[in-house]
């Protein structure tokens, strides 16, 4: 029997947030895998350390981060990467992802996913740094990048966002965490066709999919992760799955975190939609 790929599809999971820890441990069968926001666990003892151990015993898990600053000007923080690798060993994480953005520059930590201009200079910069990340983490922990929500477009952009991502992913030989909600949000905020965007991506590199809710604020869609997802996002997910086949899919909910049942119902809604697509139901 061939070995199982470390990046094989894990099914349907949720981002594990503290208000749900205890309750989800009581009904572990409700999700196929969980994603830990690595930054909430790194270097921490107490409850996070204990939960990391419980996760390893209970579910397949993946790590996601927000602080790598892969497009930043400062040298990569190797202490941070080593801490991520240690957390991956502790939890048995299958892979680790962060965002195409920068979050730290000139000695200031922004704690925000600030977009990069879609230029060839930025592609070269990110590709080089992804290779550094991969070398530091080693082959046992695959690394992927997520397409971030971007509220800005820069006049010096030389590439469309899909082309920008594709050049980075191919140049660095790197996995894609495809956030379908982010594609939708950006398509509305910047006025492009989200399905054409999906078609333009190197879908063979999709490691995982993210789904979440968003909200309109003053004429812009903000990626709040604070509500249920709209049908258009689920439709785009179905459209994507028709082209990728089964992919580990995760529901994120980070603001105004609801009771666990609401989150799990959202996950079940996604699972049902995926089953319909993959069993022949097709995209809407």
């Amino acid at each position: 029997m061939p070995p199982v790929s470390p990046t094989a599809a894990l099914g349907h999971g949720v981002g594990l947030r503290r208000p749900h820890w205890a309750e989800l441990l009581q009904q572990p069968e409700r999700v196929d895998f969980v994603e830990l926001l690595a930054d909430n666990f790194l270097g921490r003892g107490g409850a996070p350390a204990r939960m990391a151990d419980r996760v390893r015993e209970t579910w397949p898990c993946v790590l996601h981060g927000v602080a790598l600053s892969i497009g930043g000007p400062a040298p990569l923080d190797t202490d941070y990467l080593d801490a991520v690798a240690a957390l991956a060993r502790r939890t048995g994480a299958r892979w680790y992802t962060d965002h195409v953005c920068f979050s730290n520059a000139f000695g200031v930590e922004l704690h925000e996913l600030v977009p990069l201009p879609c230029t060839r200079e930025a592609v070269r910069h990110v590709v080089e740094r992804v290779k550094q990340v991969q070398a530091r983490l080693g082959p046992g922990l695959p690394f992927g990048l997520e397409n971030a929500t971007t509220y800005l477009r820069f006049p010096q952009d030389e590439l469309g966002e899909a082309e920008f991502l594709t050049e980075i992913l191919n140049g660095a030989d790197c996995g894609l965490l495809l956030d379908v909600n982010n594609v939708y949000v950006n398509s509305v905020n910047h006025g492009f066709d989200p399905r054409a965007f999906i078609d333009a991506l190197p879908l063979r590199r999709v490691l995982q999919i993210h789904l979440a809710g968003h909200e309109w604020v003053d004429g812009t869609i903000i990626d709040t992760h604070g509500t249920t997802m709209i049908p258009e996002v689920l439709d785009l997910y179905a459209y994507t799955l028709e082209r990728t086949g089964p992919v580990s899919t995760l529901v994120e909910w980070d603001n105004r975190i609801p009771p666990l049942d609401v989150l799990l119902a959202e996950n079940d809604r996604v699972r049902a939609r995926a089953a319909a697509v993959l069993c022949g139901g097709g995209a809407a």
């Binding site: 497009g71 922004l110 704690h111 201009p117 509220y151 010096q156």
Partner: protein, 242 residues
Amino acid sequence: MTLRETQRALVACFRGETAIETAAGVLGVDPARLAIYARMVEGHVRQAVAAMFPETLSALDPSVQPALDAAFYTAHPPSGWSLDAAAGPFPAFLEGYLPDRVSETDAAFLVELARFEALLAEVALDATVEAEGTPPVGHGPYVLNPTLIAVEVEHPIVEWLVAAPRPATLPPRGPARTVLVFRHPERDTACFQAATDDLLFAVKIAADGLDPDDAARAAGLPTDAARAAMTNALALGLVTGA
């Protein structure tokens, strides 16, 4: 613009060194969209402070807080990825910020309360015990909670925190008192207790590996009192059974 020039202009804007409209003009971007990021960047620090210092903020005059948030963000730009670390300088910042804005009595209390809340956060997440595999303290029937620390405070912090309802005014300095701060061994929450004689006695029994009855006799106390102290300390999570 190069990537580096773009990033420098963005950071200058988010740090408030360049006005949104000016930065948007330099970058050639929509100022309303740029403002979204500026708000979010500052908002993360504000949320980190709110998460670490809920009691301090609840005790502040609400009119003081908005300007305080902005002043803290300006004075202490985060330099590391940890949001806990971003909030860390808040007590020291209050020490310089509050005296001109609230009474001396209130400022002194709020600064000490903030330091206490920072300590609670540190104890809740401290990784020393896990990292070092700290051996349990005590070799008798009880083991001292390895996260326990004793701190001295100049204000009635514990009394104020547990009061319901809270008094309308903040208390003045009083005699120094000792507070026991520790992480609950099962719930993993940061806990605190005024260091009463009973609790200190229980801590000594666990730390020195004593038999409670022997310790009571040596101290000239009824054995029932020693046992009751240990039962209470066990229930609080100050000590565990060996």
